[in-house]
């Protein structure tokens, strides 16, 4: 089926070539980092986590949130989501792959990455997180691909495909929870030492993931004519809204108890979060396509800012280990690597979506 990703019109190829260029620049930046060490990044003694970990945290959430669609479709039998299930699974695949690449990009010795498998430390949440993430990547890819293959052949998917898909559900919840507990349990950083963090991880992940999925389906509708359906988007928007409300509430609570209120970025995140949730909540506003798209984008942005600027960079701005404050700012090398990994993930997602659309159009046509 993958050959369908090798056939496309002019704008498809321009897009792919554009992404390939970005991936190449990311690779060359990474080569620099591999050669000279992580000294080329803005990270340092006090800010040992930077934009890589921020992207990892955000993408972990996006990956895990896709399971909501799988869950609603397969266990709660919500048929209107049928056309979005595979898209959600492939979004999970791309996001999980990017997460893993960000883990590797952040490592001092990526050549020893397999030590995590050969010398596992079962007490380490990092180990479990990475294990679940790879499992989730595999289950999403296999079940998504097999379902699409069955659709391509015009036959119902085999029983094993459904069981693999069910397996991805606990994996996704595990990833979201374990990462949150992992961050909350780092004694070096007081800001994260809160039980709310785990719940907020899940809420913000769902909000951002569903909003992103809505944007993807709208984009597909615009560029390819393949429409996942208005009902599906309504459903996704509902999940995004409730999760968004929970997230801004919990975030607001944290403004009172921690030093978030000192960070201008977090105010930005909170405000656009509230605005976007309000738009999504009120039918009158939601009806306008422009406002709807704007609200979804703002919701994704709000969570992204919260996860990166707030949780990571802010977490270390108010640190504890040495009681000193060192501002972190990513370097251009770091940014190129980030853009490169995002482009690689986007390229994979584009290719997978291309196959999805081609199969669906074939079958309808």
């Amino acid at each position: 089926m993958i050959e369908k990703a090798l056939k496309g019109n002019r704008s498809y190829w321009i897009w792919i070539v554009f992404l390939v260029t970005l991936v190449a620049s990311g690779l060359s930046a990474y080569y620099q980092q591999r050669w000279f060490g992580l000294t080329v990044t803005g990270m340092g003694r006090e800010a040992s986590f930077g934009i890589y970990t921020a992207q990892l945290t955000f993408l972990l959430g996006v990956a895990a949130s896709a399971v909501m669609v799988v869950f609603s479709f397969s266990l709660r039998r919500q048929k209107e989501l049928a056309k979005t299930v595979i898209i959600a699974l492939f979004m999970a695949v791309s996001a999980a792959l990017m997460s893993m690449l960000f883990v590797v990009a952040d490592m001092g010795k990526p050549d020893r990455v397999l030590n995590i498998i050969f010398f596992p430390n079962p007490r380490s949440l990092v180990f479990w997180d990475l294990l679940l993430l790879s499992g989730y990547l595999a289950t999403s890819l296999i079940s998504g691909w097999a379902m699409l293959g069955a659709e391509h052949k015009g036959v119902p998917p085999s029983a094993w495909v459904t069981s693999v898909m069910y397996l991805s559900i606990p994996l996704a919840f595990g990833i979201a929870t374990i990462s949150a507990v992992l961050y909350a349990g780092l004694p070096g950083i007081n800001l994260w030492l809160t039980a709310v963090l785990a719940i907020r991880f899940i809420a913000s992940a769902l909000a951002a993931g569903m909003a992103l999925l809505i944007l993807v389906t709208l984009m597909l509708k615009e560029t390819t004519g393949f429409d996942a359906g208005k009902e599906a988007r309504e459903k996704l928007a509902m999940v995004a809204t409730y999760a968004g409300i929970a997230n801004v509430l919990l975030l607001g609570v944290q403004f009172i108890t921690t030093t978030y209120s000192n960070l201008p970025w977090m105010w930005f995140s909170l405000i656009i979060g509230v605005v976007s949730v309000t738009i999504l909540l009120l039918p009158a506003l939601r009806k306008s396509q422009l406002l709807f798209v704007g609200a979804c984008t703002a919701l994704v942005l709000s969570v992204w800012v919260d996860k990166s600027a707030g949780l990571m960079i802010g977490g270390e701005l108010v640190p504890a280990p040495l009681g000193s404050i060192v501002a972190y700012a990513p370097t251009s090398t770091e940014l190129f690597v980030v853009v490169g990994i995002w482009s690689l993930g986007t390229m994979l997602f584009t290719a997978l979506l291309k196959v999805v659309v081609a199969v669906k159009v074939d079958n309808e046509g």
Binding site: T41, G108, L186, G188, A320, P321, G323, V326
Partner: protein, 259 residues
């Protein structure tokens, strides 16, 4: 015979890179790596039998004296990166406020506020860094020392925020460029791994005390086995009021301070 000659020739060609050094090697036949000697532990150590601990009498620590820091950093090839971002520290001086940020007694005397307090790895009995390490590269030894296996560390750096005392440093670049006076008895680290104080496990096996303990002109340190009821450290601990860093976190540090 031809073969042998050719082989020699080939070897020499291959060694072109080292040619200059090769000539030098003829002049200096032996080089001074570790002397071959048996360690003090002849047998395989019993886990849990020993627990090393350290008491620092901060009253003895003199303003401006850096002898323990210098000795430790020299002994272990700790690179001297000057910029704050990449600095690597095994033991360093700090203020009361930073060493005991959560101490309940905040109204301490001016003298204590200005006194220096040594920070180093606490070799906690319940260490968060060893729990978070995905590969077990940072691990607890049989004698209570929290050790880093530099052959296994993947450089994920999760141990750094996991440590409440900021004891771990990361090699952001090749440390060898910043080692002023390398010693041969202890390896350097390589780019991309985490490092920290090892309680001089390398010296303990030779029957020596830690480098900082030896170097201190004021004898501010007491080092020994806390499981041994007649050891110096037990005597000092039993006859003094001591403090640990952030005891409320439950990490059970092995480093104690006399204020």
């Amino acid at each position: 015979m031809m073969n042998e000659q050719r082989r020699e020739f080939i070897k020499k060609t291959a060694l072109g890179v080292f040619a200059g050094l090769g000539v030098a090697s003829g002049l200096v036949p032996a080089f001074s790596l570790e002397k071959t000697a048996l360690p003090v532990w002849d047998e395989k150590p019993v886990p849990g039998k020993i627990r090393w601990g350290m008491v620092i009498d901060t009253r003895q620590c003199k303003e401006g004296c850096q002898q323990c820091v210098t000795a430790c950093h020299h002994e272990h090839n700790v690179p001297a990166f000057k910029n704050r971002k990449e600095e690597i520290r095994w033991i360093w001086k700090n203020s009361y406020k930073n060493v005991f940020p959560t101490a309940t007694n905040s109204a301490v005397s001016k003298e204590i506020q200005n006194r220096s307090f040594l920070s180093l790895c606490n070799h906690c009995a319940d260490s968060p860094c060893t729990q978070i390490c995905p590969t077990g590269a940072t691990f607890k030894r049989w004698d209570g020392i929290v050790e880093i296996d530099y052959h296994r560390c993947v450089g994920c750096r999760f141990c750094i925020p996991a440590c409440p005392y900021g004891s771990l440093s990361f090699n952001w670049q090749d440390p060898r460029t910043a080692i002023v006076d390398p010693v041969t008895a202890y390896p350097t680290r390589e780019q991309g791994v985490v490092e920290k104080c090892n309680f001089c496990s390398d010296r303990l096996v030779k029957g020596l005390l830690p480098a900082c303990v030896d170097a201190c002109p004021e004898q501010a340190f007491t080092f020994g086995d806390m499981n041994d009821p007649v050891s110096d450290i037990r005597v000092v601990l039993e006859s003094n009021v001591t403090m640990q860093r952030k005891p409320e976190l439950g990490t059970k540090p092995s480093v104690f301070y006399i204020i």
